[in-house]
């Protein structure tokens, strides 16, 4: 059994590598080309790959440096008996976004449902949903670069030290902080908001904490990083577009502030809390199963 000290040492090496491999090129590219050019266009996407795969590379290098081996790598599919979790990974982001859309209509659309379906016909909606569910999971090979690091290495290392709640909160903050060069460049929130960039970084940490609950639950249930990679791909590449289908009564020029964006995501946060509670319940059951029964 490995000691907490050696696990903590491995975790520190991993975090140093994950941040160094991501931040150094990101800061250089932000200064030389600007965030939008190197990250959001097809002009030099090759240069963005080390940033996207930094956590995975950190995982591999840390295992090699510390001679950890690959016995707990979570690279197995473990599809048998876990298909429902893979399907959950595929659908949950769209369900959360749909809930966000309903909530936004209630709060910022004055509960006016008259414009529902104004922009998309039934067939267009069905077509969009089918394409999203069929093709977006294929982009999981891109988000695997992050999930193999965060859920595949960081969370299992943190859990014995900080517990489940601590792992989710601290892990989420670390994950959010990892995005700093991109947030400063304008990712998610732009650069034209009051409180830039600190409010954006804080908001990103909050989002990462809650998304981390869902992703960690998927990883723990299946013992595999692939469901988390699929769910992350759904977040990044179009799974959240379902909220557009349920928006109504919101002005066309409505441009939410950072705080408003967080408010619009409240249903997502609530659903993620459910996953958190499920994880805590599973932990309790596991502890109860391990402890000897006393009469």
């Amino acid at each position: 059994m490995t000691s907490k000290k050696s696990e903590a040492r491995r975790l520190i090496i991993f975090l140093l590598l994950a941040f160094a491999v991501a931040w150094i090129p990101a800061l250089v590219l932000n200064n030389v080309f600007g965030y939008h050019k190197w990250f959001e266009t097809n002009k030099m996407l090759l240069l963005a790959q080390p940033v996207l795969y930094a956590p995975a590379l950190a995982n591999i290098i840390t295992r090699k440096l510390t001679h950890e081996g690959w016995h707990n790598s979570m690279l197995h599919l473990n599809l048998k008996g876990n298909l429902k979790y893979y399907i959950t990974a595929l659908l949950i982001v769209s369900v959360m976004s749909a809930a966000d859309g309903i909530f936004t209509t209630i709060i910022y659309g004055n509960n006016d449902w008259s414009e529902l379906g104004r922009y998309f016909t039934c067939e267009q909606t069905a077509s969009m949903l089918l394409k999203t569910f069929a093709t977006v999971p294929l982009y999981a090979f891109i988000t695997f670069g992050e999930e193999f690091g965060w859920r595949g290495y960081m969370n299992p290392k943190m859990k014995p030290i900080f517990g489940t709640v601590g792992t989710v909160i601290i892990g989420g903050i670390i994950w959010g902080m990892w995005y700093i060069p991109l947030i400063v460049g304008g990712r998610n929130f732009g650069t034209d908001y009051s409180g830039y960039p600190h409010l954006g970084i804080g908001a990103m940490c909050v989002i990462c904490i809650f998304h981390g609950m869902m992703l960690m639950w998927l990883t723990e249930k299946t013992g595999s990083v692939y469901p988390a990679a699929i769910a992350h791909a759904m977040i990044d590449f179009g799974g959240k577009n379902t909220n557009q289908l349920l928006l109504s009564g919101v002005a066309d020029d409505f441009s939410p502030t950072v705080t408003q964006q967080l408010v619009m995501m409240l249903p997502t946060f609530v659903i993620c809390l459910v996953f958190m509670l499920l994880m805590l319940r599973d932990n309790k059951k596991r502890k109860a199963a391990v402890l000897p029964k006393t009469q």
Binding site: T41, N42, K43, M44, L45, L46, L47, Q49, L77, L79, E123, Q124, A126, S127, M128, L130, K131, F133, A134, T135, L138, F141, I142
Partner: protein
Amino acid sequence: MTKFRALMYREWRVSRKNNIIKALFLILFTAMMWGMMFSIMTDPSLAEGEKESLSVDYFVFCVSCFSIGVGIPTGDENFKSDLNSGWLRYSYSLPITVYDKISARMVRTAISTVIGFVFSIINIAVCCSVAKVPFSMSYIIIHFCVLVFALVISIIFDFFTLSARSIEEQKTKSEQGGIITFIIFVAAALLLMKINKISFNDFIAEDSVSFSFIHSLKADMLIWLIPLIPILIAVHIWVIYCRLSSAEGDSHSISVSKSSANNTKAVISDTHDYPKGFLYKEIRHNRIGILLIALAPLFSYIFASGMLTLVWFFDNAEDGYIKAITSNVVLLASAIVGACIASSLLTGIFKGDDKKLWGYFTASTSAGIKGFLYTKYVLLFAMNGIYLAASYFMSISVSTVRYFLFGEENISTMNVYTVVFFALLFLSALDIPFIVLFGTKKGSIIKISGLIVIVILLVLAIAYTPPETLDSIFAFCEKLIKNEAEGWVQLIPAAAPLLSLGVYYLSYRISCGLFMKGVNAYDK
């Protein structure tokens, strides 16, 4: 004479299945060419005289190439059978000389070539009389050109393959020979075009391919073509004699068999650290295939840009070469080539498992048939995913280079790769039950035969469909591809990926049902 008759009978007997299949293909292909010819003849958009000459030239080129190509056995399927059965080594202990074996082979080749030649000439003569076009001497000369060309390919290919003394060696040398033959063929064709000042544009007349170059073949070419044929035959005999004169082949065969023996030892002794289970057996067994499929987009890009390079060089084109090879057009062309490579690599994971012993062992394990086929299907899906990821990295690398050199941004080709992913999945789903039921070799033949029949029927259907109907079908397809369709029709392209996944799962269930039937029917 008795020895020669016996060897001839053996040659015919061993190759009879191949001969029947080739004959069937020849007849089917010729039938398709007749259909194409009639469709060109009835095309209202072409002028009267143009129709006949276009259709006859097209017919002549295709039928002559196929007939002669089918006649000459490049690669010699009998050699493979002889290696497999051990007859090759055994024959060195018999009272027959290498020249006896060569004579039997050359006579067999001559007979099938003459049959192909005559069949082609008869068809062309009938075609000319139907199209009311005079039978030209150039139609015979093209046959001699194709024959010379086929002989050269045979010589190069046999130079590589006939030194093999085991099936594995023969496979490796076939691949090497195939690649070198292809390179020599392309280089020679381009050199001939350069010498004769023929450009690629000469093959394109308005919006169709033109074969009118056939009429530039004059009778005086026979002065060097006819003597060249016996010279090439003599060279071919000499190459075969050099390669078959020894029972051990060349010195490479000994070192290859030694090194493969060493590899076998390493695998047997080195098992205590490896994980267990069918998935790890598949990964270990197919690690080269997995590596190749990850490199397939790179190879296909090199091939596509290589072809463009050759055209650029021989056509003396203007500047803009680097811009051309980093364009989306080359990326799309490489996607198509890569898909063909990936398709054969994907179904290659079933090679070697179509054996009775392995089938019975699989059925007896705790995972059983379902577990075994499950791992195959999962691996195939994963390899498909690896190909998609590798294609993406290839594409963004080329786009990055293009941006840094020219400041231009390529449109993302990820949509194309996604379509290729699901298309490969669909094709594999159709392929695998045939392989499971009939084995790798037979399954491929049956599947290809079925596909050829479907393609022929489709080509004939298209050829005889009225142009207005064809135009409306193409317009409909264009709308679907560009997402401009309305109503429930727009769900068709959206549902296609899910259909592929559904067919893939269905294929798994069918394969599970067919597995033991296939195992019982395997040859060994």
